[in-house]
């Protein structure tokens, strides 16, 4: 036993599920193999592995650039070397739950941009849909190939203190992070030689092939021209765009590389214009087409929406999917599952209060110390109020903003995100985590890559896992 101190200051958070320890402070079986390895390894060796992981990220160019004062500072997304381990039983449930959810959400988007039965049947109020900034009138009645709107998604899950996974957010627009799922695994392979096969960890490396297959299936051509549209090198996810394009063998294009002629999209090549059939875009709806959305956008392509409506090009994900991952719509997802599929939701929603409803606003105001309030159209962890951390003054100010337009806000009870062991200062410490598995929907169904991105709040006691606010990530192992 070379490393006895490893667990010496593992202070469990109260009322919180820990991924490694069970209630009686015994290691859960899925962690046993890895802990054996950790115990055999000296602290010096582990710290070296931590350094090595940083070096690997830098030398592979897995970085994002933060710009300030005209100077770009390259950073790596912090990585914790201890993997997060999920059992196959847990995974089976996650997988079926996400599939069910995506099926319903996709039907919902189709319905909303076509017949709108769900409004007519009184399940979701029409005004909620029309007031949502992510609802695109431009998509009404548009025929989408194979009725697939959400091809690529990254649903955020958390594990509550009852041990169950809950859906925190459905990311249905241009979710990022999948390259970190791939890179984290590559790093683990080098940090822990032999441990992955010994632990029967399911492989994630097939993701780019799966993605390519799903994209290719959308075209009738035998060899469609598929491109990845990036906002360019200043985008924080640029690394991911280059990686996915490289791993799929497709062209990485910027808006200025594309042009629309007679409602067809072409890319400007050295031997003339070449038609583009499928665009995996990592540019938001708003910036996609200056003729229809934000006129100032230089990231998109003028006329691309018209080409899309004529069916001359396929855009992935379809424009307008943001209507289904809006925080105000989230509340209705369990109802959607019942309405479209006649099934009980496999994964639960987090109890959510709509502040537009006076009784719920009152309840939330009374219990504000136990609540998180979020803007319905916000993301990235910004514009939130964490009731237990805020001062009375901050709460007062925030509530005043809420009262101006309460329907733009929702509240949720403060969650007990599960904790997982992280290697910090030579010891293991529990830190809060979430999980973003990546799902691909196509012509013949939904596939989910066995793993995903585990984000971790590296600050002690913090619940915010977003990379912009001190979060990091872990490799995620689904074991057979």
């Amino acid at each position: 036993m070379a490393n006895k101190h490893l667990f010496s200051s593992y202070d469990l958070l109260p009322k919180t599920w820990d991924e490694m320890y069970n209630d009686s402070s015994v290691f859960r079986t899925q962690y046993e193999e890895f802990i054996k390895y950790l115990e055999k390894t000296s602290p010096e060796k582990l710290s070296k592995k931590e350094d090595l992981s940083k070096q690997l990220f830098m030398s592979q160019g897995v970085t994002f650039t933060v710009y300030s004062d005209n100077e770009g500072i390259e950073k790596i997304f912090p990585f914790d070397i201890v993997p997060r381990i999920i059992t196959s039983k847990e995974w089976t449930k996650i997988e079926s739950g996400i599939k069910q959810r995506l099926k319903a959400l996709n039907l919902f988007i189709k319905d909303i941009y076509n017949e709108q039965f769900i409004i007519k049947d009184g399940i979701i109020p029409g005004e909620l849909i029309y007031s949502c900034p992510n609802f695109l009138r431009e998509m009404k009645g548009v025929k989408v190939p194979y009725d697939v709107y959400v091809h690529i998604s990254g649903v955020d899950l958390i594990r509550n203190n009852d041990g169950e996974f809950y859906v925190l957010e459905d990311n249905l627009r241009t979710p990022s992070g999948v390259s970190y799922m791939l890179e984290n695994r590559e790093i683990s392979k080098r940090l822990f030689p032999g441990i992955l096969p010994k632990s029967n960890v399911r492989s994630v490396s097939n993701y780019p092939n799966m993605l390519y297959k799903k994209l290719k299936e959308l075209s009738n051509k035998t060899n469609p021209n598929i491109v990845l549209l990036t906002p360019g090198i200043y985008n924080s996810a640029y690394y991911e765009h280059t990686t996915l394009a490289r791993l799929m063998g497709i062209e990485l294009v910027e808006g200025s590389d594309l042009v629309v002629k007679n409602h067809f999209v072409y890319m400007k090549t050295t031997n003339g214009l070449k038609q583009v059939d499928i665009i995996y875009r990592r540019v938001d709806d708003d910036f996609l087409d200056p003729l229809e959305f934000n006129a100032k956008s230089v990231l998109g392509v003028a006329g691309i929406m018209a080409a899309y409506r004529k069916g001359h090009v396929n855009i992935v994900n379809a424009p307008g999917t943001g209507i289904a991952d809006d925080k105000a719509i989230y509340i209705y997802v369990p109802d959607m599952i019942k309405y479209y599929l006649d099934e009980e939701p496999i994964l639960k929603n987090i109890e959510t209060y709509q502040l537009g409803r006076p009784d719920e606003l009152e309840y939330v105001t009374k219990n504000i110390k136990d609540m998180v309030i979020k803007k319905t159209d916000g993301s990235g962890g910004y514009g939130m109020l964490m009731g237990h951390e805020a001062t009375d003054e901050e709460i007062k100010d925030y509530l005043e903003t809420v009262k101006k337009k309460p329907e733009n806000f929702i509240a949720q009870p403060i969650l007990r995100l599960s904790t997982a062991p992280c290697y910090i200062d030579g010891k293991l410490s529990p830190r809060c985590i979430d999980l973003r598995p990546f799902a691909l929907s196509g012509r013949d169904g939904i596939d989910i890559c066995p793993g995903g991105l585990t984000r971790v709040a590296l600050k002690k006691g913090s619940l915010v896992v977003n990379s912009s606010q001190g979060g990091g990530s872990k490799d995620t192992w689904v074991i057979e």
């Binding site: 062209e251 990485l252 200025s256 590389d257 400007k268 090549t269 050295t270 031997n271």
Partner: protein, 307 residues
């Protein structure tokens, strides 16, 4: 291939070639300057190879090298050149080999390591050689890992274009010094220095032994068929890659092949008497003008499809 990608590939290799050239010039001048500072000063080098509006000049070797390598205000500093090369490489990752990307990314990380400037003071020659090694690894990696096809051809177009420009600039630089002296020993120092800067000294010795004959040097630097850093060799290669691109429909003829063919024969068939009659400076400025036109034509192909 996307026009933007072609452009980035050309510039990727132009920057790497330029870096390589500047580094060897600095090393050669460092040695010479330690021997005879009155003959080999730093100011002309700084004038030719920094930003056009540069106002900083120094005759302190370490200060000069530091400025030429690390100064971010100097757009031709090695740090800036490599940063730009890396940006180009980053945006064409699906067109270059993985090894090549890792190579240039590691070079960038090496350059930005905060401990690096200390090495300059310890041993400037080792410092410059270590940097130059990254360029050699880069070209070797490209040669071994990059498939022959449009990407490789565009990269080589950039490399040989830049190399011709560098050889011409290095020669012009020395011609100024040579014109300012009537001492034949001094002149021979300058010619030797030119050979060293373009990396042809060893070959010269092998061919002509240790006697410095102006005409031999000119013939070797401009007309040698087998010396990879002669102007003729570069034009010949350039012309080959341009032909390949035209054949693969990646480049419109657009006069480029004509311009290159003309330049190639001019260099090949101009006799040394003829060069002497018109003056080497004149001969070089004609070459530079032709290269500029060729380069503009390549750009025109790129830009014409960009509207």
């Amino acid at each position: 291939m996307l026009s933007r990608v072609a452009n980035n590939l050309i510039w990727l290799d132009r920057y790497m070639e330029r870096g390589n050239g500047i580094l060897s010039l600095l090393k050669v001048n460092y040695y010479a300057n330690q021997d005879s500072p009155e003959l080999f000063s730093w100011t002309p080098i700084m004038k030719t190879f920094t930003t056009y509006d540069n106002e900083f000049y120094t005759e302190d070797a370490l200060e000069c090298i530091d400025f030429m390598i690390f100064n971010t205000g100097n757009s031709n500093s090695i740090l800036n050149i490599v940063t730009k090369a890396r940006e180009n490489a980053r945006s064409v990752q699906e067109h270059i080999s993985r090894e090549l990307w890792l190579c240039i990314n590691n070079y960038y990380l090496y350059l930005t390591n905060k401990d690096l400037p200390r090495k300059l003071e310890e041993d400037p020659v080792q410092f410059l050689e270590d940097l130059r090694k990254h360029h050699l690894i880069y070209f070797g990696t490209a040669d071994i890992t990059q498939e022959r096809g449009p990407s490789y051809y565009f990269m080589n177009v950039g490399k040989f274009l830049e190399r011709v420009i560098l050889i011409s600039d290095f020669t012009s630089l020395k011609l100024v010094d040579i014109g300012n002296t009537s001492d034949s020993l001094e002149k021979s120092f300058y010619w030797k220095n030119l050979l060293l800067s373009v990396g042809g000294y060893q070959l010269y010795l092998k061919t002509h032994k240790s006697t410095f004959n102006e005409e031999h040097v000119i013939r070797m630097v401009f007309q040698d068929k087998l010396f990879p850093r002669s102007v003729y060799y570069c034009i010949n290669k350039l012309s080959g890659y341009i032909d390949q691109l035209i054949e693969a429909n990646e480049l419109e003829k657009n006069n480029i092949d004509f311009l290159l063919g003309k330049l190639e024969s001019t260099i090949k068939y101009t006799t040394i008497d003829n060069i002497n009659n018109q003056g080497l400076e004149h001969f070089i400025s004609d070459i530079k003008e032709d290269i500029r036109n060729i380069s503009l034509n390549i750009n025109a192909v790129y830009f014409s499809q960009n509207n």
